[in-house]
Symmetry: C2
Subunit: 129 residues, 2 copies
């Protein structure tokens, strides 16, 4: 199966979903190398657009994402990765999910979740997930 | 709340999740115009990268996506749209979810879902969702 990496400049978006709860935890991008590493290691590797290189989720925090099931969409240009998340949360701001804010019809965002860990105790100075 | 449209060339990925079942149905992209229309109409509007213009999901099929809750991630560069999907499925290939194939560790894809409708009866010749 060949993924279509062309539509987004060599990357495909990868949705991370908690297999147990069904919660969507985050969205990252993978290039071919990150995708191959994810398949071969069974733990999620993204491509960091800001650092321009592959980065294993949890390399700093220990909050790795164990791949339980990987799905591809009809156009082979998006991935759904169903995972067991290790640790209290995936978000570098200390939440279980990166989607911790709701947006109302006026476009205003409100935090709707509680922090599950203190990010300053988990991450080094440099922002890393 | 300002979305960061810069990281993906004027677009943000938008994950569509069925609020009732928790299933991830598809992933699309929105530009500012599509996002604004989604907020104001309460039904999902994407930006079509292939047609290079906004397109309302369901404009051909009637399978619109009613927005029940909209969330934004920590970096404001991805959206999670929790919806009530109208109709038997969102995928132009006739499945309830576009993620109807599982990928194994060798990278081989297998269909894991049943078709829920006949796409040729729903869509016109031109591929449209």
């Amino acid at each position: 199966m060949d993924l279509d990496f062309q539509k987004a400049g060599g990357l495909v978006p990868a949705i991370i979903q908690d297999q147990r709860t069904g919660d969507v935890l985050m969205l990252g991008f993978m290039n071919l190398e990150a995708f191959t590493q994810t398949l071969s290691t069974g733990e999620v590797v993204f491509f960091s657009r800001s650092r321009n290189k592959p980065w294993k989720k949890g390399e700093t925090s220990g909050h790795v994402l164990r791949v339980l099931e990987l799905r591809v969409d009809c156009d082979a240009d998006a991935l759904l990765v169903r995972v067991e998340p290790v640790g209290p949360g995936v978000c570098h701001e200390g939440y279980r999910s990166c989607f911790f804010r709701e947006v109302n019809a006026e476009g205003r965002a409100t935090v709707i979740a509680e922090r599950t860990f203190a990010p300053e105790k988990v991450y080094s100075k440099e922002k890393s997930q």
